[in-house]
């Protein structure tokens, strides 16, 4: 519970994704992979073992032609606060190696690769399929490892990885702010996907800070979270003007009565 009882008000970083603006282009996915040294294989068509911290799902209203509709839904890690927002995220609760931890200061669920021994309990526990296992050692074509960023350590075979809300960007921003003896500003800490989205569909910030854009956006009448019934308390909110999309957000058992 480090930082859990700090006098300073804790931050709660989160995202609001406007699905009405998302065009499904995939820029967020590519920006994320490039930022976080995510590896790639020659065949990535088996999506079960294809590592994408951010994944854009294409969901459908399940209606027959010609009434079919699609909606694109980008899914990073939800950085769940767990029941009562106490930090009991589904994955954190089950990790036997403390390789994943809840940071009360930021609300970010971390993943420490060198502690992980690959039992994959967390993957089973995560209701959002946000976690991925390295079945193989990553291989970059000759020379391409030069494009890897030193801010994120490359992973190895046998460990689980997932979206970190680009935590290293927060660290860099914090260091800079500390030197200049001030707080980190909203624009200084933005995730790679937020920065890249050409449609401006993703907004990132401190959900606890009334000055931040996300604070207001999450209160939109069209805002919802995924599988809210599970009380995982995700920090990613979605906005959609379409009712079927909002309904699909909690559709974890088909035909289940609300």
């Amino acid at each position: 519970m480090k930082g859990g009882h700090n006098n300073k008000k804790n931050k709660k970083f989160g995202m609001v994704i406007n699905l009405d603006k998302c065009t499904g282009c995939g820029s967020c996915m590519v920006a994320c992979m490039s930022e976080n040294n995510v590896p790639f294989k020659k065949d990535e068509t088996n999506k079960l073992d294809s590592i994408t911290w951010m994944r854009v799902y294409k969901i459908t209203n399940k209606k027959k032609f010609p009434d079919t509709e699609f909606c694109f839904l980008p899914r990073p890690c939800m950085h769940c606060g767990g029941h009562g927002d106490h930090g009991h995220s589904p994955c954190v609760s089950v990790c036997p190696a403390t390789a994943t931890d809840y940071d009360h200061e930021t609300g970010i669920v971390s993943q420490i690769y060198t502690r992980c021994f690959g039992c994959r309990y967390c993957m089973a526990a995560c209701p959002y399929h946000a976690r991925y296992f390295n079945w193989w050692d990553p291989i970059w074509p000759e020379g391409m490892e030069k494009t890897l960023s030193p801010n994120v350590s490359p992973r190895m075979r046998g460990v689980v990885e997932k979206c970190s809300f680009c935590y290293h960007r927060y660290q860099l921003a914090k260091e800079k702010a500390y030197l200049e003896e001030r707080e980190v500003e909203e624009g200084e800490y933005q995730t790679a996907c937020t920065e890249a989205c050409p449609s401006g569909a993703i907004t990132f910030g401190d959900l606890n800070n009334p000055e931040h854009k996300v604070y207001k956006l999450k209160k939109s009448p069209n805002a919802f979270r995924l599988l809210e019934k599970l009380q995982t308390n995700p920090k990613v909110y979605y906005i959609s003007s379409k009712k079927w999309v909002r309904d699909a957000g909690d559709n974890y058992i088909l035909n289940d009565k609300k």
Partner: protein, 733 residues
């Protein structure tokens, strides 16, 4: 101590408690996970100082500004450049993954000379000087023999690079500088035939309140994708209406307000049906039409006679009620735009169909206005000294014939590349002695690959300037690899920016990694090795010198800021007084013929059509590994392309999801594809995504799926000569 039951138990409990409280278990577990992860082959990226370098992305013609993060000089990440006028801070997924091009395994690392047969794929490594020597000797010989007209080039460039090549061909004495046409050529034809001016058609989506798209992939990569994404985001705020008419539910259709599924190839008929309703219900702009429109009464009776709503409904497969409400919605909007050209605009549209759709803009008088369509002059920043032609050059230009049979008097269609293979194969034209290919990959991007390959066999010598081992490069006799855009300084013309146009300057992020050289530099070097008639036209020492000379007093500005932005927004570039329209009249159309689709309905009961997604590059540049990684498994699975087919149609042919079937068209037999049953396609239609089926490049894209161009042949528009091939008849076994 005697070991009895009591001692044994207490020792056991003690040991268990000790172990439980000691850190050894945790420590061992931690250590073991660290030991088993410290592999020497897991890279540890070197740390260093972070800095950002600005440049321009040249993956496509949008030429977006980029900002590259470097760590100790090593580029690690690309993002959009904030203050760049073309893209205003953002870029597309391909642009984001540009660093993967630098170290791509398919890069040509040194000039290569083919050893043995064309298709042998055996190469000899040579130096850049040797390569330049080989090519310039060839060019010298051909010119001396008086055959300068037999040198051809296929180019996909713009700006100074293209101007240099064009200048070279003029002084050398050949008219055969060819380009692959796109929907932009259809737009130019339309503007020329309707309003008698030379210019490109531009749509002011930003300020329109109703956008009716006839199958245009507005949000799948059309125009400048970043500009279009911003249009979409802003529309959601301003509540403008989007209607997408398309045979399948593309991304564009999915995020539009309404998707109207239409039978393939009948978009223009719908446009005429809508025009008919607008006229009958008297919803058109009467002032505008009576002031500028000729033939309006003929147009009216032509529509009334041929395109009543029931007939249109029959042809298009859209209910009459929907057509009527669409017509009214369009007509009642204050600034409606009808946009046309299928998909992202890789292929041209027949002039006839374009005019049919364009008529809706004319009926509403939403032309040359804010929120409407307008015309853009070619942006020219290159004014070099005039050139002197010697007798050989004059002879070549006057007597030489175009290998693609493009007419000299038609200034708009300056290239009908699609006609070249047939003209050569049927011996109507002699194959060129020498073909130069740069910024192009015709073997992949042209329709009917078999015919293209056959015609290439007859070309004596092929030189490729590709940076990558693409399909055309692997067939070439000589490869002189170009630097990629992250390694060179180059002018980058952007004509479809976010609200503007202009020219930018890319600058090298890294020194060339391999033995490559900027095409423009190589061209100048070659010209200097040729007789004075050619070399005199290239007064510059090298490309850098040429750049500075071209921009003259603007150079320091360009060098400093990285771009020159034209003051005017492009929507108002051609002012009313600048050209014939609307001072004079335009003619409404009075006849219409749909473009035909190859293949008999009896033998081929289904229609195959192409689809575009921004996650697949179908241009001369193939996908990067990151972008291929995010392609849906409903489009590519293993090495199979998936065909999208309606559930009813699938039932009719007893097709199951995931089943591998044989697809046959009049031009390709037994192509293996996988079935994806989808509710997002009109019945009796097969949808296949473009951008797959590469035979070149590297293992991350090679041999994955089917190239749509192999399944079709070119289809010529009778008015313009452009290749307008879109769908084709097909069957599944």
């Amino acid at each position: 101590m005697k070991i009895n039951r009591r001692n044994f138990l207490s020792l056991g409990v003690g040991a268990a408690a000790g172990l439980a409280f000691s850190p050894i278990g945790i420590k061992l577990m931690d250590d073991s996970s660290i030991w088993t992860q410290n592999w020497s082959w897991t890279p540890v990226p070197a740390d260093g100082e972070i800095s950002y370098k600005d440049s321009v992305c040249s993956f496509c013609d949008s030429k977006c500004g980029i900002s590259v993060r470097t760590i100790a000089g090593r580029p690690v990440k690309i993002k959009g450049r904030e203050d760049y006028p073309a893209n205003d801070g953002k870029i597309c997924p391909l642009g984001l993954s540009g660093l993967q091009l630098l170290y791509s395994p398919s890069r040509v690392r040194t000039p290569l000379k083919k050893v043995g047969k064309r298709d042998s794929n055996k190469w000899q490594e040579i130096t850049m000087d040797e390569a330049i020597e080989i090519l310039s000797e060839k060019l010298k010989d051909i010119r001396e023999k008086g055959n300068s007209k037999d040198v051809a080039a296929i180019s996909g460039s713009s700006g100074i690079r293209y101007a240099l090549l064009d200048r070279f061909f003029k002084v050398y004495g050949s008219r055969n500088l060819l380009k692959k046409p796109s929907v932009q050529d259809s737009y130019k034809h339309l503007v020329s035939s309707m309003h008698s001016v030379r210019g490109n058609l531009k749509f002011d989506f930003e300020n329109s309140d109703f956008i009716l798209s006839f199958g245009t992939g507005l949000f799948d990569g059309f125009d400048n994708p970043v500009r279009m994404f911003k249009v979409n985001s802003n529309k959601k705020v301003s509540k403008a209406t989007f209607v997408q008419v398309e045979p399948y539910l593309s991304n564009t259709a999915a995020i539009s307000d309404e998707w109207l599924p239409i039978n393939p190839g009948t978009e223009a008929v719908l446009a005429l049906g809508i025009a008919n309703i607008i006229i009958i219900e008297s919803l058109y702009d009467k002032d505008f039409v009576s002031k500028y429109g000729k033939n309006f009464n003929d147009f009216k009776s032509f529509l009334f006679k041929n395109y009543n709503v029931d007939k249109v409904s029959d042809i298009t497969g859209i209910e009459t009620k929907k057509i009527e409400s669409l017509a009214r919605g369009f007509a009642r909007a204050s600034k409606p735009i009808a946009v046309f050209g299928r998909g992202v605009g890789d292929t041209a549209l027949s002039l006839n169909e374009a005019i049919a759709c364009y008529s809706l803009n004319l009926l509403k008088g939403n032309v040359d206005k804010k929120g409407g369509v307008s015309f853009l002059k070619d942006y020219n920043y290159i004014n070099w000294s005039t050139i002197n032609l010697d007798d050989i050059a004059k002879k070549g230009l006057l007597e030489g014939e175009r290998v693609d049979e493009a007419k000299t008097n038609n200034v708009i269609t300056d290239s009908i590349l699609n006609r070249m293979p047939d003209a050569i194969n049927s011996s109507r034209k002699d194959a060129p002695e020498l073909l130069i290919v740069e910024n192009a990959n015709p073997v992949y991007t042209m329709s009917n690959t078999k015919e293209v390959l056959k015609s290439f066999e007859k070309i004596s010598f092929i030189v490729s300037f590709s940076s990558f081992m693409d399909e055309t490069a692997s067939l070439a006799d000589l490869i002189i690899p170009d630097d990629i855009y992250l390694e060179k300084r180059e002018d980058c013309l952007f004509e479809n920016g976010v609200n503007n146009f202009g020219v930018g300057l890319s600058s090298p992020i890294v020194k060339p990694l391999f033995k490559t050289e900027n095409f423009s530099d190589v061209l100048i070097k070659i010209a200097k090795k040729l007789p004075s008639a050619v070399s005199n036209a290239f007064q510059w020492e090298n490309y850098s010198d040429c750049l500075e000379d071209t921009f003259d007093e603007k150079w320091s500005d360009l060098e400093e800021s990285g771009f020159i932005k034209e003051k005017n927004s492009y929507r108002y570039v051609i002012k009313r007084n600048d050209f014939a329209f609307p001072k004079s009249f335009f003619d409404f159309m009075t006849n219409f013929k749909s473009a035909s689709i190859d293949g008999g309905e009896e033998e081929y009961p289904l229609t195959l059509i192409p689809a575009d997604t921004i996650r697949l590059s179908s241009t001369f540049m193939a996908n990067t590994p990151f972008v291929t990684k995010i392609v849906s498994d409903k489009i590519l699975k293993g090495n199979y392309s998936l065909i999208q087919i309606n559930s009813e149609t699938a039932k009719k042919y007893s097709l199951k999801n995931g089943k591998v079937v044989s697809l046959t068209t009049p031009f390709a037999k037994d192509i293996k594809v996988m079935v994806n049953i989808s509710e997002a396609v009109v019945p009796n239609t097969i949808v296949l995504y473009k951008g797959l089926g590469h035979k070149g490049y590297d293992d991350y894209i090679k041999d994955k799926g089917v190239n749509y161009n192999e399944l079709i042949s070119y289809l010529e528009d009778k008015d313009t000569g452009l290749d307008i091939a879109y769908g084709i008849r097909a069957k599944i076994v």
